[in-house]
């Protein structure tokens, strides 16, 4: 099938969940209500690191309307976690951060639940705490003194406050530095950023008479949530059913268990359904924001600006529990290498514990932090060598067949096209069009996360098809995209496809709405299911049409063999009479590319599947006195392999850039002595519609081998380059780089004044 003949795939069709969402009919997790439902609230620590000397829930438990109060003493003693099993539902004898759950209450109203929290008595004895991630590397204060007893993935290297250390090494860095024309060293810092989903984390749990629990929740990973709940509840996973009614955004902040366990535990204790929803304050003190990092880069170049060697270190602040920190820090190493050829690499990541809220893997985890460092430094090097920033990149980028940082062979490499098209679109020839105005460019690469997907596809007797998937439509249009592929393969219209809701009890497994993989992987599973369905339909049609299977194709909702045809609907009806109906199980898995294990140490994601390439360019002005940045134009050239639905890819690009602009200029969860100073949406500054310009998307289509019709992962990359592109444009406008996110007007104004003196 050639792209030119597509009827459904590649078309700008409206998304299947669109009307329900814009009319308010769509039910989100936070809307979900059951009769007799109780309201759960969580008591959280007011100390950053302290022993719990006394915890007395008796006054709260005795309050009218309170149905249950639970603490660590009331639940199975389980430690859970992804890379490191270090996490507990409630603080045990010690609180590890301000906001640490200590107890939970279920009451007949939210108001009574809140009042009951205030009636729980806690006496603390403060302990020395460690807040600074670099200090934590060597601190005598251990967030987890018992770390060595925790179970962890075998690949993870741990020690004290270090919950994970990984390395990528190639060549001889020291020798290369010794022979370099110049060597540059810089340090960059990035801040905690909340994913900013519209719907708070919400879950409703209900136990049936047989001791099975159903949880309705806005999770990105229903099967992972099912497993984690089973561990926490000490049940076989089949007795935990997770249903995702709808999800009001996630961006990686709803990958791991959020409030589901509190709802399930309270529901078990009360024998009533319980709903738990987070407040804005809870979101900003205890969710899974993008980790803060410190990145140091040392890069050696020859006199023409060719990269000879890079030594890089990223320290990533996990907060009190490892969460996704060890993997996120390791992923940063591929980003630190960049889409560049560098013979000698010595890259190292540290994920560290501190006495702060646990952070997580927000969209493109580690991508923007490491890219900010690499791409800022590329421009600094270009400036020092008198090279154009575009030119230094073109001299160093990878090309088809080059090796990536893990020694893998790179295919479908399009970074040059992305760079050239972004530069052309922004008007790179006139890079400093006016005083205080400048243009910046940044590029990068990213993976399409693997993991398997299964789908069931059923052909109905009216000729339509039902797609049963465990993949969550997180708002990207990914399920619409996969359905477009399915419709294409079955010669149906998109309107002929219906999708069932996500339910772990009925749906085949899916690795989840993460890592730019849903449309890619579910799309591939749909291809496989459609191939199976064609075989089934052709076998039935062969008898009906008296024609050989080899001559058959699907066309306009019919099985066609020469001048004979039979409708898909008729085939489906015949199948019901004879064979139980048409149904197929399609599966997909993306194998990891071959790589050189000798380059890697303790890396849980050693080589990237189906990498994508992208370049961003921005044109902005900096107010010479106030430091305020005003973005005029923003261009993204992103290689998507094949644009399954260009409209929703553009939506992904626009949303990702908006988040990137927030990270670049305004967003930061500010901690002071372990306390969040801006735990509200007044002082946590996400950009508004007025802060985000129209974003111009250029969809580059350099087909991949593994993706459906050549598609590549799309969702995460748009938020990776904005901080670097904006930093470089600020530098073009002002002459200096700010190595610290967010690049607030205050920081810029201070630097402008310092330089004026």
């Amino acid at each position: 099938m050639s792209a030119r003949n597509f009827r459904v795939a590649g078309q700008r069709l409206p998304r299947m969940d669109g009307i329900g969402k814009v009319t308010g009919k769509h039910v989100y997790a936070a809307d979900f209500t059951l009769a007799g439902m109780l309201f759960g609230k969580i008591l959280r620590s007011t100390r950053a690191h302290a022993l719990i000397r006394r915890l007395d829930t008796s006054r709260a438990a005795a309050m009218p309307g309170v149905r249950a109060v639970i603490t660590a003493a009331d639940i199975p003693a389980v430690r859970f976690g992804q890379a490191v099993r270090d996490t507990t539902v409630f603080a045990l004898d010690r609180v590890l951060f301000m906001g640490h759950p200590i107890a939970a209450v279920a009451a007949v109203s939210l108001e009574i639940a809140v009042q009951a929290l205030a009636a729980i008595d806690v006496d603390y004895e403060d302990l020395p705490a460690v807040f600074d991630m670099e200090a934590a590397l060597k601190s005598a204060v251990l967030v987890h003194p018992e770390w060595a007893t925790y179970k962890a993935l075998p690949i993870i290297a741990r020690s004290g406050n270090i919950s994970g250390r990984a390395r990528i090494k190639a060549g001889d860095v020291e020798a290369a530095f010794a022979g370099a024309h110049r060597v540059y060293e810089h340090r960059f810092t990035t801040a905690l950023q909340h994913p900013g989903y519209t719907e708070p984390r919400a879950a409703v749990a209900d136990w049936d008479a047989n001791g099975n629990v159903t949880v309705w929740t806005g999770t990105q990973l229903p099967f992972d949530t099912q497993n984690t709940l089973a561990e926490i509840l000490d049940l076989p996973s089949s007795r935990v059913r997770v249903i995702v009614p709808g999800i009001g955004g996630g961006f990686g902040g709803k990958l791991r268990i959020g409030v589901e366990h509190f709802a399930a535990l309270l529901a078990r204790k009360t024998a009533r359904p319980v709903r738990v929803i987070t407040t804005s304050e809870e979101e900003l003190t205890h969710s899974y924001p993008r980790q803060a990092t410190v990145v140091t880069l040392k890069t050696g170049v020859d006199r023409d600006g060719h990269l000879l060697a890079r030594q890089g270190r990223i320290v990533l602040d996990c907060g009190a529990y490892a969460g996704s920190g060890p993997a996120t820090a390791a992923i940063a190493l591929q980003v630190l290498a960049g889409p560049y050829k560098t013979a000698a690499l010595a890259l190292e990541s540290f994920a560290v514990y501190t006495n702060k809220g646990t952070s997580g893997s927000f969209r493109g985890p580690a991508g923007p932090m490491a890219n900010f460092a690499v791409e800022s430094q590329m421009d600094m090097i270009a400036a020092d060598l008198g090279l154009d920033p575009l030119e230094i990149r073109l001299r160093n980028i990878v090309h088809e067949g080059d090796r990536g940082p893990s020694g893998e062979v790179l295919r479908a490499v399009s970074i040059e096209e992305c760079l050239r098209r972004a530069a052309a679109a922004i008007g790179w020839d006139d890079r400093k069009p006016a005083p205080g105005r400048g243009k910046g460019i940044a590029c990068g690469w990213w993976m399409t996360t693997g993991g398997s997907s299964g789908v069931y596809v059923k052909i109905n007797p009216d000729g339509s098809a039902t797609l049963v998937s465990g993949a969550v439509e997180i708002g990207t249009g990914a399920i619409t995209g996969a359905s477009q592929i399915l419709a294409e393969e079955l010669s149906l219209d998109l309107a002929d496809i219906s999708v069932t809701g996500v339910d772990t009890q009925a749906a085949p497994y899916d690795y989840g709405a993460q890592g730019s993989r849903t449309a890619f992987s579910v799309g591939n599973a749909c291809l496989a299911a459609a191939a199976d369905l064609r075989r089934q339909m052709f076998a039935i049609a062969a008898a009906q049409l008296d024609a050989p299977v080899e001559a058959m194709v699907l066309r306009d909702k019919h099985v066609v063999a020469g001048d004979k045809s039979i409708s898909i609907a008729e085939v489906a009806r015949i199948s019901r009479l004879s064979g139980g109906g048409l149904i197929a199980h399609g599966t997909a898995i993306s194998p990891s590319p071959a790589y050189d294990p000798g380059r890697l140490e303790n890396h849980p994601l050693p080589a990237w599947n189906t990498p994508s390439f992208h370049a961003h360019a921005v044109d902005l002005s900096v107010d010479p006195d106030t430091g305020t940045v005003d973005i005029h134009r923003y261009v993204v050239a992103q290689d998507v392999g094949f644009a399954i639905n260009p409209t929703y890819i553009e939506g992904q690009i626009e949303g990702g850039v908006a988040q990137g602009i927030g990270q670049a200029l305004s967003e930061e969860i500010v901690y002071q002595d372990g306390k969040v100073m801006n735990a509200n949406l007044t002082d946590y500054k996400m950009p508004t519609a007025l802060d985000v310009p129209d974003i111009e998307s250029i969809l580059v289509e350099c087909a991949s081998v593994a993706g459906p019709y050549g598609a590549k992962g799309v969702g995460e990359p748009p938020c990776i380059e904005p901080p670097a592109a904006i930093a470089n444009a600020i530098a073009a406008a002002t002459g200096f780089w700010l190595p610290s996110l967010p690049m607030t007007a205050e920081k810029i104004a201070r630097e402008l004044r310092a330089r004026r003196k």
Binding site: M677, D683, T688, D691, T744, E746, A749
Partner: protein
């Protein structure tokens, strides 16, 4: 939270209810501050007296000496008021940057004033107009200057049961203009890091300052009038030098705090920059309005 909601049908009834319930009662109009304060546990009133439907307290009237703004007037109404689009445009500029569209459709000018936030955007332009407030209360009616009314962060001279009934100010002299500037971390839904209003009157030739009034928000416990800066302009040639000096004096007069939004140092710097800009904009406007 729980409270009794009262909906008086007259001003007298509202004042009587407030007198009856005393400190346990709060007036509520748009609710854009009161509801947030309740939700964040900062206040817990037992009674909310909804004044949003009281007759005669919304709208803008031209008076013999100038204008009277009803306290229930929304920012949207201010933004669109034809008579404020000329020399009084600082009122429009300040109203247009309060919150976002939803907030401006419901939030009231009176609420912004009695809330007494040091960062209230609408207060500085009113201060430069020497606005006065008419107040009704259990002890009768009174009139107070806005600059005397706000006494500290969240504090006013409003007595128990008292209610602002009008905000009044005089027309500007000939050859006058106003301007408002605000700095924050984003362009909407933003609490000012610093905001500045200026009202400038030039002589008939349009070259020399006759008088200037300045007001600075979010750079002290209340919005302030930097009097030395104002005085420094009288009789001076209108231009960069005198405006910059005024900015410097205004910065010296301010006493900002450092908090999560900005450092005191940055705020002081912004005061100087914005005062200079506001005065420059006023002078441009006066020049632009001249035949």
């Amino acid at each position: 939270m729980s409270f009794d909601l009262h909906r008086p049908s007259s001003l007298a009834e509202a004042v009587a209810l407030a007198g009856l319930f005393g400190p346990g009662a709060r007036f509520i109009a748009g609710g854009t501050d009161v509801v947030i304060q309740i939700n964040r546990g900062k206040i817990a009133p037992a009674h909310l007296i909804d004044i949003s439907l009281l007759p005669g307290l919304a709208g803008i009237a031209a008076t013999a000496e100038g204008y009277a703004i009803g306290p229930l007037t929304t920012y949207r109404t201010i933004e669109r008021h034809a008579a404020f689009q000329g020399p009084l445009s600082a009122l429009v500029e300040a109203a247009a940057v309060v919150g976002g569209h939803q907030v401006r459709n419901i939030a009231t000018v009176g609420g912004n004033i009695v809330n007494a936030s040091p960062a209230a955007d609408f207060v500085p332009p009113l201060l430069t107009l020497d606005a006065v407030l008419d107040i009704a209360g259990p002890q009768g009616d009174r009139t107070v200057a806005l600059r005397d009314f706000i006494t500290g962060p969240g504090k006013t001279s409003l007595g128990a049961g008292e209610l602002v009934t009008a905000i009044r100010f005089a027309r500007l002299a000939a050859n006058s203009a106003t301007a408002f500037f605000k700095e924050g971390r984003r362009k909407a839904m933003e609490i000012s890091v610093v905001c500045v209003a200026a009202s400038l009157t030039l002589d008939a030739s349009g070259t020399r300052c006759v008088s200037a009034r300045l007001a600075v928000g979010a750079a002290g416990p209340t919005a302030l009038r930097p009097e030395r800066a104002e005085a420094s302009l009288a009789g001076q040639a209108a231009g960069l030098t005198s405006f910059r000096d005024a900015g410097r004096l205004a910065a010296e007069a301010s006493s900002p705090i450092s908090d999560v939004r900005a450092s005191a140092d940055h705020r002081r710097h912004l005061v100087a920059v914005l005062v200079e800009r506001a005065l420059t904009r006023c002078a441009e406007r006066i020049a632009g309005a001249r035949p």
